[in-house]
Symmetry: C2
Subunit: 459 residues, 2 copies
């Protein structure tokens, strides 16, 4: 918070219609900060305050409000006010807001808008959520190849007030096909009469309108871009995605990956923890928890089936939960690393054998350490345990140590294999949730444990 | 991959010294792509290829190589070549590379560099890893307040070749204290004779040199900045952090959070899965796995202690692993959501009671659903189970259902409480790893289970 002004004072200003004070606040603060202040007010109050701002500032501050508040404010406006406010907003934010309001409100506002904007909204709202098309904006600068650098700078200067960025401009032919791009820096460094086509970079990194938004964001990250052009099936430029959208996309995808990894459902929105009600959280979490609890009963049935064995060799019970937990832990670790490496584009589904080879190596090392430690634990600290006559502590040691080793190796491999296979089938590898994995390797682990024990105890 | 040229052909070009072909590759491809191609070569070959590029391109491509390969190439150069190459690199990449090479090599190269660059390297390398100072660059544009817009644009044009960005310029007084900032867009839109001090934005979002790099990255995200100025204790401008660094920082912090959440140690670098050997992975994962396996033995001891009870009521064994797993799952879910909300700055450690109230609400709902389902499972499908004479199935149903409910509530609360307390104590909340939580609630869960059973069975 950069401004010490508080909600009560703000309300006072609004009630008394203190335009000068409100304007000075709007002008001195960053739109993001001003939007934060207004969030403390009711939709009616916030709108009253915003009416004191000039239209450009008003749209800028309004665009930085939470989308829920935007929709609430919009609901209080008549169609002409609403249409004017929407007209001034950046096209991508406008399309997002438009999609979020009720259909009858949409129908009411649309006719009050200019045709170009109406079509822009329709076009931008048409793309499926999660695609490059759904996050792009239509405010970008284009140039024709035969302009001179001086003419191009002059054109960008004229367009600057209505363009999201003038630092990158895209060079297009009459069919809007992308020929190249120039940065404002290139133009400023060029001789004034040099042609744009001689300055431009002809190899442009771009993304298709129906590609995943994360693909677009990762390209912006990889190539350190300010903006990434979006092209349609006919190779025509239809929009751009800017660097600030890329950060937001990456943050959202990360939240989604983390929540999926913990088997949490819902929309995976960023910064909605406090806003979501307990009931909403419950609904997002309940599904998997119940399913896994039901599957978990299989583990119970296995324990029950081997009850006689546990009764005969009480020491086996000591190591049973540890064996199940360790399987879950090692499996979750390999799954997490593989899911992350896939998300970062470091490995591809085709690398499955390379990944399995590496995980097998890690698993064998972990199995050795844990197996030896557990064997030692049994041999050196197991003397107090009651054993049926004729059985040696070493038999128990071998059984537990080797079972744990096998459990660690299978769990690690399952943890790596599941996301790789999921990715290969074209699904999001993060759906292989750690809780699900834990439940599965619990079952395999108990089966491994009791079978191994029976072999080593000769039952 | 944008260019079909393959390593064998590249080797051919290098061997035959085909400057024209190599230059055309360097000029047509994005430096990131060219760097990818060179990564397939040996350090000697890569350097031979780079010698055909002009110095600016060479430094740009070299800066995009993996740091390990940069260091290997540097090791093959004599001190003057090395000094020249370092001089042409962006200051932040240069400082990072410099920190990664052996000290004797550092001592050898430094005297061959110009004094200004020597000091720049020393200054940038001095900041602790993970701070804003360690990621900032010293190539930024500054203006004085009395310049006109036209003079300012002219100055930026002159500085452009050596500046990371000319789109933001910082206005400083003679002591380099930050007075404001202007964007190139502001300057282009201003009247040519307007003074910089009248155009500039006096309220500048900035970060202190010793603040966390993530704080800096989140500010760039929140305020949609192209660059964030970094100031020292005396409020003097010492560097900037650019938008592309912000994306990389956020990606790295996210990898760190996810790996910590799965109790994986190590440096938490991005895109190092394949590069890290099985031994390296083993070392990162082994520590917690072994510690948790040892703690897991406590659960085993509890099971063993209640063996007589399990023997008497065989049906109790059926629900035991499910109860432990469900505790781990619900606790991991609440921990993940709280860790993420803390990382996003959505909640603060002071919100602990708000968070606990919300999680308690979620937990009660989950407990009700799971408790009722489990009670039903016992009552309707438990008829085949052997019970000691005089005991009712309903008693078991109540015991299991209520124990599961208590387990879900305690686990969810523990999962939310631990990261909040960790954050309050000033540590990274992500250290409360899900495997550790699972192990802890295993122990509490078994104690709850057997105590509740004893109460309901009147033992």
């Amino acid at each position: 918070m950069q401004n010490p002004l508080l909600a009560p004072e703000l309300r006072e200003f609004i009630k008394d219609g203190k335009t000068v004070e409100l304007r000075s606040l709007f002008e001195s603060g960053h739109p993001v900060v001003v939007a934060e202040f207004l969030s403390a007010l009711s939709p009616e109050e916030a709108w009253k305050a915003l009416q004191h701002a000039d239209p450009v500032q008003r749209a800028e501050i309004f665009s930085n409000l939470e989308q829920d508040l935007q929709a609430e404010i919009l609901a209080t406006l008549d169609r002409n006010e609403a249409a004017r406010l929407l007209s001034d907003m950046p096209p991508d934010d406008r399309a997002d807001l438009f999609k979020s309001i009720p259909e009858d409100k949409q129908e009411e506002i649309l006719p009050a808008m200019a045709q170009a904007e109406r079509e822009d909204i329709r076009r931008l709202s048409a793309y499926e959520e999660g695609t490059a098309g759904a996050v792009m904006t239509s405010d970008y600068a284009t140039l024709t190849p035969d302009l001179t650098a001086a003419q191009a700078i002059e054109q960008l200067r004229r367009e600057a007030p209505n363009t999201e960025t003038i630092y990158y401009a895209y060079v297009v032919d009459p069919k809007r096909r992308l020929l190249g791009f120039v940065s404002l820096k290139d133009l400023i460094l060029a001789r004034p009469n040099q042609k744009v086509k001689d300055i431009m970079h002809p190899e442009v990194i771009s993304v298709r309108v129906d590609e995943d938004q994360e693909t677009a964001a990762r390209k912006i990250q990889k190539y350190d871009l300010l903006a990434l052009p979006v092209i349609n099936g006919g190779d025509a430029l239809v929009g751009i995605i800017t660097h600030d959208d890329a950060i937001d996309i990456i943050t959202q995808e990360q939240t989604e990956d983390m929540e999926k990894l913990m088997a949490i459902g819902g929309a995976h929105e960023v910064s909605t923890y406090m806003k979501t009600s307990a009931w909403g959280h419950f609904r997002n979490r309940c599904g998997w928890i119940v399913i896994l609890a039901m599957i978990g009963l299989i583990s119970g049935a296995i324990v029950q089936r081997y009850e006689a064995l546990i009764l005969q060799f009480a020491i086996l019970a000591t190591f049973m939960p540890m064996l199940a937990d360790t399987g879950g832990n090692t499996g979750s670790q390999s799954a997490t690393l593989v899911v992350r490496a896939l998300a970062m584009g470091e490995i591809r589904p085709a690398d499955i054998f390379k990944v399995l080879r590496k995980e097998f190596g890690v698993a064998v090392l972990l199995a050795l350490v844990l197996g030896v430690l557990t064997f030692g634990r049994v041999i050196f600290f197991g003397h107090g345990e009651a054993l049926p006559p004729g059985y040696q502590l070493a038999q128990i040691g071998w059984a537990v140590g080797i079972a744990l080793g096998i459990q660690v190796i299978t769990s690690t491999i399952i943890g790596a294999l599941l996301p790789m296979v999921t990715a290969k089938l074209g699904y999001d590898p993060a759906v292989v949730a750690s809780p699900a994995l834990t439940t599965v390797v619990d079952i395999t682990g108990l089966l491994i444990y009791f079978s191994t024990a029976k072999v080593f105890l000769g039952i």
